[in-house]
């Protein structure tokens, strides 16, 4: 077990820089999730920590030791790959024992460790099978087992659940979390699925175009997204963004014409009278018939999901569709106008040019 420290880590292929200096400190025993859209460089970061990709700049430390020039095998890490990367010609036992044999463990020790891991992962009885005789979930567990037996300092996961079907994914997600709570090994987990990220991680690193947009706990990211990108990426369905002009005193925002949104007490006076982007999550709208300040939303269409109802509509003549999530079942006809209100502290304001939170 160990802490992992990244200091201004840069990756460049020739002249094209793909990772622009990521810094973070991952505490001992922490479960950290690197999340971002496909192609943002999150896997590259993980592969640099693993030693599968050379680091073009910066320093990576594992357990206080700089590992920039160490081979993967000398970094004392284990990795679960997206396609599991099980050795197809070896039995489950040999798959798990491969790394131990190379590290010159005794036969008895190897057997003991593999048996223990197999029990933990409910793989006993499958040890003599070949990977192709296993189901997707079982293969996934073997890949986990191969990591566990080595008792490494750090676990790395590269989208390990993305090849499983939806139901199994939820189940394995829970098992992974439980496993982490038992083993307490520092884990770095890469995914593009924000639900996985929110449920698994102690902390999240949101990466966009090779740069860390925000690092923080799942709730921090949800409640105080640092940028418009993070706000849009975390949460499902994603946040609504509306262009608006702040009032001169920064206490309210004008959305097209007279529609006015009150902001929380402190407001944003520095940005008074400027155009900004207002972000409101679909679940933070309320219907308030009595409120004279309510914003009218003209319904376009609705989706009834049982527990919730999604309402899509427009404010006055704004071009973008606004998504609203209301608990329970509602039947609204299209063209119906709903009076909506939003608690001032649920409104996020972003700089129109930089996307940064105001």
């Amino acid at each position: 077990m160990a802490e992992v420290i990244l200091e201004k880590v840069v990756k460049a292929y020739g002249k094209t820089e793909v990772i622009h200096g990521i810094s973070t400190a991952i505490a001992d025993g922490e479960f950290i999730v690197i999340v971002g859209p496909s192609g943002c460089g999150k896997s590259t970061v993980l592969r640099m920590i693993a030693g599968l990709e050379k680091i073009s700049g910066g320093i990576i430390r594992i357990d206080g030791r700089e590992v920039n020039n160490l081979e993967p095998k000398d970094r004392d890490i284990a990795m679960v790959f997206q396609n599991y990367a099980l050795y197809p010609h070896m039995t489950v036992f040999n798959n798990m024992a491969y790394g131990l044999k190379l590290r010159k463990f005794t036969k008895d020790e190897i057997k003991h460790r593999v048996d223990q891991a197999a029990q933990l992962l409910q793989l006993d009885g499958l040890l003599e099978r070949k990977p192709r005789q296993l189901s997707g979930g079982q293969r996934q567990r073997v890949a986990m087992g191969r990591c566990i037996v080595r008792e490494p300092k750090v676990f790395l996961f590269d989208e390990p659940l993305s090849n499983l079907d939806a139901k199994l994914r939820v189940q394995m997600r829970l098992e992974l979390r439980k496993l982490h709570e038992r083993l307490k090994v520092t884990s770095i987990y890469v995914t593009h699925d924000q639900v996985e990220a929110m449920t698994l991680g102690d902390r999240l690193i949101v990466i966009n175009e090779g740069a860390a947009e925000q690092i923080g706990s799942p709730l921090e990211l949800y409640e105080k997204p640092a940028t418009k990108f993070v706000a849009g990426f975390i949460g499902s369905p994603s946040m609504n963004f509306i262009e608006a002009r702040l009032s001169r005193d920064g206490q309210s925002a004008n959305i097209q014409g007279d529609v006015r949104l009150a902001l929380s007490d402190d407001g944003a006076p520095d940005f008074g009278d400027r155009k900004v982007i207002i972000g409101i999550r679909p679940e933070h709208f309320n219907i308030s018939e009595s409120n004279p300040q309510a914003i009218p939303l003209s319904v376009d269409h609705i989706e009834i999901l049982g527990a919730d109802t999604m309402v899509y509509g427009r404010f006055a003549d704004t071009p973008d569709l606004i998504t609203i999530r209301l608990p329970d079942i509602h039947h609204f006809k299209s063209e119906k106008v709903l009076p909506l209100s939003v608690a001032p502290d649920k409104i996020h304001i972003f700089n129109k040019d930089t996307g940064a939170r105001i």
């Binding site: 030693g51 993967p72 990795m79 050795y87 197809p88 190379l102 070949k130």
Partner: protein
């Protein structure tokens, strides 16, 4: 179950397979049956009269020490050719699989020898190693090694082994490279993280996963060494010196077309035919079962 009558009988399918069947009959079945028939005949020296002798040609063949020598030479020749060309191709493919820059050039250059006809390849090697003209022979001479494959049987054998292997490397290289590229990269990465160095990764992960390719190539290389090396032998040594490089396929030609013992030669080609049929059967039987992982 659909009944046969559901389909309207049409001559089209038969028409479409006709060319293939005709080619097989004209170029394989007919000459092969001619060879089998010929192997049961003895012709007199002037070609005036032919006698049907049943298996006399075979009996004579299998009691002939020279034939067994030729058989032994063929075994040595083909196993060395297979080993040498497979080994070299494997190393080259492993290297080509690793490099990133200039990979296309490297691959193209390695595939070129395959386009060279066997006779041309043989002539090329013959010139390089020619005892009086050849550059390698000259260099060997400077180093104090006396090279003359026209007199030394072992050197002659070595030369045709080199020439035949060289030509086959491209073919093997292509298959090995394709086989390696079909192995997911994450497997070697996982092994690297597990603690295996490059050589160990190769032997424990890549090589076992390549075994179907290796087995296929082994059979193909033996078939190649048995049959397709005629041009090389003919261009380089003509079976000499003193029959030192007279492998079976060359002996068929020598006895039949030079020695004019048509019956004996046909009997030899029937033996060769049996060998290739056996190899093909092994190929089809085992390649998809035994070597599967």
């Amino acid at each position: 179950m659909l009944k046969r009558t559901h389909f309207n009988p049409s001559p089209l399918p038969y028409l479409l397979v006709t060319p293939q069947i005709l080619i097989t009959i004209i170029f394989f079945i007919w000459p092969a049956s001619q060879a089998v028939f010929q192997s049961l005949l003895v012709e007199d020296a002037f070609g005036l009269k032919t006698e049907f002798v049943w298996f006399d040609n075979f009996i004579e063949l299998f009691s002939d020490q020279i034939y067994f020598n030729s058989f032994g030479k063929t075994i040595v020749f083909s196993s060395l050719v297979a080993f040498l060309s497979l080994g070299t191709a494997l190393i080259l493919a492993a290297t080509a699989d690793r490099i990133v820059r200039g990979a296309t050039t490297y691959r193209t250059l390695l595939i070129w020898p395959y386009a060279v006809a066997p006779v041309v390849a043989g002539t090329l090697w013959m010139f390089i190693f020619d005892p009086t003209l050849g550059i390698v022979a000259y260099m060997l001479d400077m180093m104090g090694y006396d090279w003359n494959h026209r007199l030394n049987g072992n050197q002659a054998m070595a030369l045709i082994i080199f020439a035949a292997s060289w030509k086959q490397i491209s073919y093997n290289f292509l298959f090995f490279l394709a086989g390696m590229q079909a192995i997911p990269k994450s497997l070697t990465e996982a092994a690297a993280i597990d603690g295996a160095g490059p050589a160990w990764r190769f032997w424990t992960i890549i090589f076992p996963l390549l075994s179907p390719t290796t087995f296929f190539l082994l059979v193909m290389n033996i078939v190649y060494a048995f049959f397709e090396t005629f041009g090389i032998v003919h261009a380089v040594t003509k079976g000499g010196p003193a029959g030192a490089t007279e492998i079976m396929v060359y002996k068929v030609y020598n006895d039949g077309f030079i020695g004019l013992d048509l019956g004996g030669s046909a009997a030899q080609s029937v033996v060769l035919m049996v060998i290739v049929i056996t190899l093909t059967v092994i190929q089809f039987r085992y390649i998809e079962r035994k070597v599967e992982y």
